[in-house]
């Protein structure tokens, strides 16, 4: 709207304001050809440039995040995402990237958009979500991605780098629930959250290998994201929101 809110001004954006006659110097991409046909003169679409912040979130809610020692990792991840959206100002837009889609699709802003983004659901696919984030978000978007990153492809580093160039990116890596020590010993039955089963003997030797492996994996992933230009943090099962705050160097008064 002309002379509207201080967070909007005329320019490049996506919120339509009005049509007016074409003035030399207008961006030809803004010519509304339907209106031009109706009026017989070139018409230019005037839109608001959005100066509000877009807070985008990628939340891995696949079955692999449903595991945990005392509760599913996904619970902690949702807490972190809630905190992420809670910082949105009324003019800010909150979106979730879920596979090929952005949610919400309407022009909601502030708390309503945060609630809609939090409640959004759909089929999650990591690689697709990262691709969608690259192509559909505005430059300067603050992007938070939370997951265990088991599905992160080996060749995804370039994409991570591109995302970090366009957006302010933060990755929260869900820490393995048994990071501090594997819970079971003896003959162990394991069910893969995303399929598969394993029945094997786990002794001290295996427990030691496990501890080394999860620590190595976490360190490698954090390094990959950091090298690509992402802010990184570790999502702990018991400290959802606090884990996000810690990634930004903030200490929450009350953990969780």
């Amino acid at each position: 709207m002309p002379g509207g809110s201080p967070t909007s001004r005329r320019g490049d954006g996506y919120e339509f304001v009005e049509l007016r006659g074409y003035v030399p110097g207008d961006d030809v991409r803004r010519i509304d050809w339907a209106a031009t046909a109706r009026s017989g003169e070139l018409q230019t679409r005037i839109v608001l440039e959005d100066v509000g912040l877009t807070l985008a979130g990628i939340l891995d809610d696949s079955p692999s995040m449903q595991v945990g020692r005392r509760r599913p990792l996904l619970g902690a991840a949702r807490e972190a995402l809630r905190l992420w959206y809670e910082v949105a100002e009324p003019e800010d837009r909150c979106v979730r990237v879920i596979g090929k889609a952005l949610a919400p699709t309407s022009g909601l802003r502030g708390a309503p958009s945060a609630a809609a983004a939090l409640g959004a659901g759909g089929s999650f696919e990591l690689q697709q979500s990262l691709e969608t984030a690259r192509s559909a978000l505005r430059a300067g978007t603050a992007l938070l991605a939370i997951g265990d990153w088991f599905d992160l492809r080996d060749d995804a580093d370039e994409l991570l780098y591109v995302l970090a160039r366009r957006y302010d990116c933060t990755a929260l890596l869900a820490r393995d629930p048994w990071f501090d020590g594997f819970a079971l010993s003896g003959i162990v039955r394991m069910r893969g959250a995303e399929g598969g089963t394993l029945r094997a003997y786990v002794g001290k030797q295996e427990q030691a290998r496990y501890e080394q492996a999860v620590r190595r994996r976490e360190a490698q992933l954090l390094r990959r994201f950091a090298l690509a230009g992402w802010r990184t943090g570790v999502l702990e099962e018991s400290r959802g929101a606090a884990s996000l705050a810690a990634a930004f160097g903030v200490r929450l008064a009350k953990a969780g």
């Binding site: 995040m65 003959i187 959250a193 394993l198 492996a213």
Partner: protein, 306 residues
């Protein structure tokens, strides 16, 4: 393998199958011991846990059940068992040619040593007798199940001297063998029959009585001269093979002391054991229960049963 109670076996198999089904169902069921994990692939690759241990336990359970099922079915096995009524005469050639040294130290000494191996390898309870023969046949030791006694009697076998009366030896053995039972004659010789009754006739008669003659021919292909004479120590392999064939036995050639020793030792094992159907229920029961206990304790020792 046969079963005395096939229906019981089938029932036991059904019960075993039901138990296996129950076991695998329990394995699939989620319990407090189950661990849901994000990525099995990561765990398996990173930890390389020992999968064979629970598989071994599974095999233990299965085998135990199978053994018990067989036991319940009254399993009967055909297995080589010591012959209880076995009777063997060892006929040792003591003709002059047995002094030949082409088999170290002499053919006679090697034959005695080999006969000792035969006695030692024979199943306990097998009755063994000794006959020596040259120009005639002599009973050195009548049939006895006291193998130590028979071994001691080997020392009474006279030194090599004289002709070779194979037929006489076979006839003497035949007359001293019991009328029934598992009977056989082992003939250890290096020569050609040159006196006494026709060995082939005796061998044929022995064949009709189901008394096989196992013939062992001693001597190298080149043979040698009989010490103290100008006669060659020859061997009539064709005849020895024929005695064995017509009586239902077998022929073997031993060109040195080791071959002779091995041949008689093997013969001792083979001839004093016979394939018999035996009740294996007890064995299968013991094996099944032992496997159950071992598997149970191993599972317990490894933390839990999985």
């Amino acid at each position: 393998m046969t079963l005395l109670h096939p229906l019981r076996f089938a029932l036991a198999l059904l019960i075993a199958a039901a138990l296996v089904f129950l076991y695998t169902t329990l394995l699939r069921r989620k319990t407090a011991h189950d661990l849901a994990y994000s990525s099995i692939a990561f765990f398996a690759a990173a930890v390389q846990p020992r999968r064979w241990i629970p598989q071994l336990l599974d095999a233990g359970w299965m085998l135990a059940l199978l053994a018990l099922a067989f036991a319940l079915g009254g399993v009967r096995l055909t297995a080589p068992m010591p012959v209880r009524d076995g009777a063997v005469f060892i006929c040792i050639d003591t003709s002059g040619s047995m002094a030949t040294t082409d088999v170290s130290p002499t053919r006679a000494a090697a034959a005695l040593n080999a006969a000792r191996a035969f006695i030692e390898e024979s199943a306990p309870g097998t009755r063994i007798g000794l006959i020596s023969f040259s120009a005639g046949a002599s009973m050195i030791q009548p049939l006895s199940s006291d193998h130590a006694l028979v071994e001691a009697a080997l020392g009474q076998i006279p030194p090599p001297n004289g002709a070779t009366a194979i037929g006489d030896a076979l006839r003497l053995a035949a007359s001293a063998l019991p009328e029934s039972g598992h009977r056989l004659i082992v003939l250890v010789t290096d020569g050609v029959n040159n006196t006494g009754v026709d060995p082939l006739e005796v061998a044929e008669w022995l064949g009709t009585q189901h008394i096989p003659v196992y013939t062992i021919g001693i001597g190298t292909p080149n043979g040698g001269y009989i010490p103290g004479s100008e006669d060659e120590a020859t061997i009539d392999e064709g005849a020895l093979r024929e005695y064995a064939q017509v009586s239902g036995g077998a022929y073997a050639r031993a060109e040195d002391a080791t071959q002779l020793h091995d041949a008689l030792a093997r013969l001792g094992r083979v001839t004093s054991f016979a394939k018999q159907r035996v009740d294996a229920t007890e064995g299968f029961t013991v094996a099944g229960v032992a496997l159950l206990v071992v598997t149970f304790l191993t599972g317990l020792g490894l933390g839990r049963f999985g």
